[in-house]
């Protein structure tokens, strides 16, 4: 039992920092570069992603374990996962709107963008590839999303500061954002000796 708990903590740290979804796996680059110009929107996007990835990890893991695996249909995982995720996001949007209009106001704009976010499908596939059980999948999903949120908020903070800096003309906009991402990736690469 104790070993299992230690194992969960290792999964959490390695998913959030060492194999950061954005900075080392390159999943979810679009929102990372697109919605990272203000901290407020980065927080909103991060929270929405956390919510969706964790839920998607649970549902996809259940679907794989109790529907696909017993029927020997593992090869259908890509099709099933993408449909489940697309349906889930629409469903979450409807539920959140009904149950908590305040939360809907905060996250609503970002939810539709998440369906197409490769991080969600990527994490669901990684859970299966690494043969995680349900609890491990949830921890891995949550931690990956945490890593995403940390990275996008850091990026937004840096970009807010950078708005007042004197940047060479050719580097303005997209290139300087990518240079920032390079430096962040280098910093996160330092975590690789952690576990």
């Amino acid at each position: 039992m104790n070993n299992y708990f230690v194992n969960l903590i290792i999964i959490l740290i390695s998913a959030a920092f060492i194999n950061n979804v954005i900075l080392s796996q390159f999943l979810g680059i679009c929102p990372f570069l697109g919605i990272s110009n203000k901290i407020k929107s980065a927080v909103g996007m991060g929270l929405a992603v956390m919510f969706v990835i964790t839920t998607a990890s649970i549902i996809c893991s259940l679907a794989f374990r109790y529907i696909l695996a017993p029927m020997n249909l593992q090869y259908l995982q890509t099709i099933v996962f993408i449909i489940v995720i697309a349906a889930l996001v629409q469903f979450v949007e409807m539920v959140v709107k009904k149950v908590s209009p305040a939360l809907y106001d905060a996250l609503g704009v970002y939810l539709p963008l998440i369906t197409t976010n490769c991080a969600v499908l990527g994490v669901a596939l990684l859970n299966v590839e690494k043969d995680f059980d349900l609890v491990e999948s949830i921890v891995n999903g949550f931690a990956s999303a945490l890593g995403f949120t940390v990275a996008i908020i850091l990026m937004a903070g840096i970009r807010e500061r950078m708005a007042y800096n004197d940047i060479p003309k050719v580097f303005k906009g997209f290139p300087i954002t990518l240079v920032t991402a390079t430096l962040m990736a280098m910093a996160f690469y330092g975590f690789s000796g952690l576990v």
């Binding site: 390159f26 679009c30 963008l113 303005k172 290139p175 954002t177 990518l178 390079t182």
Partner: protein, 243 residues
């Protein structure tokens, strides 16, 4: 010019998905650690793109417009599964090297972009050539970026030693930070020489142009649905007032 040839040239140069439209950045950054990886990813994506384009173009009259996204998702995901199984059977080393990035072709914006913008409105033949052009354009871009990173990071191209043996490889270039750096320099050069690119706004005006604009990605259909969802209460209120 022949209209079929025009589609090929369009995909290769005018609307090159990587260099001009800046679509599918995730695989571009993730798999280009070597030239061979670029070939594997590029050709797999090409196969999926061509097959999906042809099928959607053939079915375009039978797919109801309002639910077209689920249809597209199922067709594209099926094609990806077929490609994945073929790779596992005949090219296990490629399948091993690319890992989860093969199933992730499903969410590659290039595929949905072309299916939505082109195949759903055009004839089968033209869609076929559009898929080939876009796919080969993507493959060539991946090979170029992959070769560059492999050259600096390992001193080789396609596993052939190019640099003199005294060259100390800059390993960073085949690690994640190198991917961001190469793309940063590429976009900076595009700005410098004022080359057409989505990232500096000078690219061909297209609803698909990415440049970090997620709302115009394949999530567009969901975004529209979201707006409809948001408008609903207003409509209800208006009805109540009338009562």
């Amino acid at each position: 010019m022949n209209k079929y040839l025009e589609r090929l040239v369009n995909g290769l140069f005018k609307e090159n998905p990587t260099f001009v439209l800046m679509l599918g950045m995730c695989p571009t950054l993730a798999v280009t650690v070597s030239a061979w990886n670029g070939v594997g990813m590029g050709l797999s994506t090409t196969a999926v793109l061509v097959a999906s384009n042809v099928i959607i173009a053939a079915l375009r009259r039978f797919i109801p417009n309002t639910v077209r996204m689920p249809y597209f998702i199922v067709v594209v995901a099926s094609m990806v599964t077929i490609v994945q199984l073929l790779l596992q059977a005949y090219f296990p080393s490629v399948s091993e090297a690319l890992g989860i990035y093969i199933p992730l072709i499903v969410v590659n914006c290039i595929i949905f972009g072309r299916v939505e913008a082109y195949a759903a409105k055009n004839k089968v033949g033209l869609s076929l050539f559009d898929g080939i052009g876009m796919g080969i354009g993507f493959t060539i871009a991946l090979i170029l970026i992959g070769s560059f990173r492999e050259l600096l990071g390992a001193g080789t191209i396609f596993n052939f030693r190019v640099m003199p043996s005294s060259y100390e490889p800059i390993e960073m270039f085949i690690k994640p930070p190198g991917a961001f750096l190469v793309l940063a320099m590429l976009t900076a050069l595009q700005n410098k020489f004022k080359l057409p690119s989505a990232t500096n706004g000078s690219g061909k005006k297209s609803a698909l142009t990415c440049g970090g604009d997620c709302a115009n990605c394949m999530g567009e259909a969901y975004a529209i649905n979201h707006e409809l969802n948001a408008e609903e209460p207003k409509i209800k209120k208006a009805v109540r007032k009338e009562d």
